[in-house]
Amino acid sequence: MSEHRRQIFEMLSAGKITADEAERLISALEEPASTKSSPAESGSAGKNPPKYLRVQVDSEGDAGQEGPTKVNVRVPMQLLRAGVRLAGLLPAQALHRANHAMQEQGIPIDLSRIKAENLEELVEQLNDLSVDVDQKEAGTKVRVRVFCE
């Protein structure tokens, strides 16, 4: 075990950092090592396409009543692609109703104008997606992370 890793575990056992923070520190430690070990991969070949879309929700809850809640969802990118293809099969009537419902909610998107190739492009662009949302309401802090890996 490396010295840095040992220090992280000591801080974790001493309660100075949370398990999440320790995980992040360890992954940060591993990151440069993996890039050093395979310079060819990071060069002309480029980064590997992500395989999963991950959604993490951390809710800290109020002081001691609810306690923290963590939700972690991992969806394969292939499932997104297949879902996109399924959306392409929707009959025109269903699309019309979906458009109407979305416009009622203030989302001005015409689903009938989205073609399969556009959606494929959209899924491709998700590769670089990373959304972090921090919300602090009365006694509750919610953190939402959406990213590809």
Partner: protein, 86 residues
Amino acid sequence: MIPFVAVVSLRDQESRTFRLWIPLFLVWLLLLPLGIVLSPFIFIACLVCRVNPLRGVAVMWQILNALTDTELDVEHRSAGMSFHIL
């Protein structure tokens, strides 16, 4: 490859964990004859909805294949639940 097993883990307040392995391949085996029996009705429904039935079947097959490695974890102080499709 289509998923063969789903694992459901439940944790209660006393940190006891119950792990349930669901053999999905048995579900597929049971659903296969049902799908064959229902295929004429599915075909008619596709025609009514103006959807190419072959394309529909292909997309459903792709979705089934893509379900592998889907993961859902919910952790709370008092309970936890994990669902993993293998």
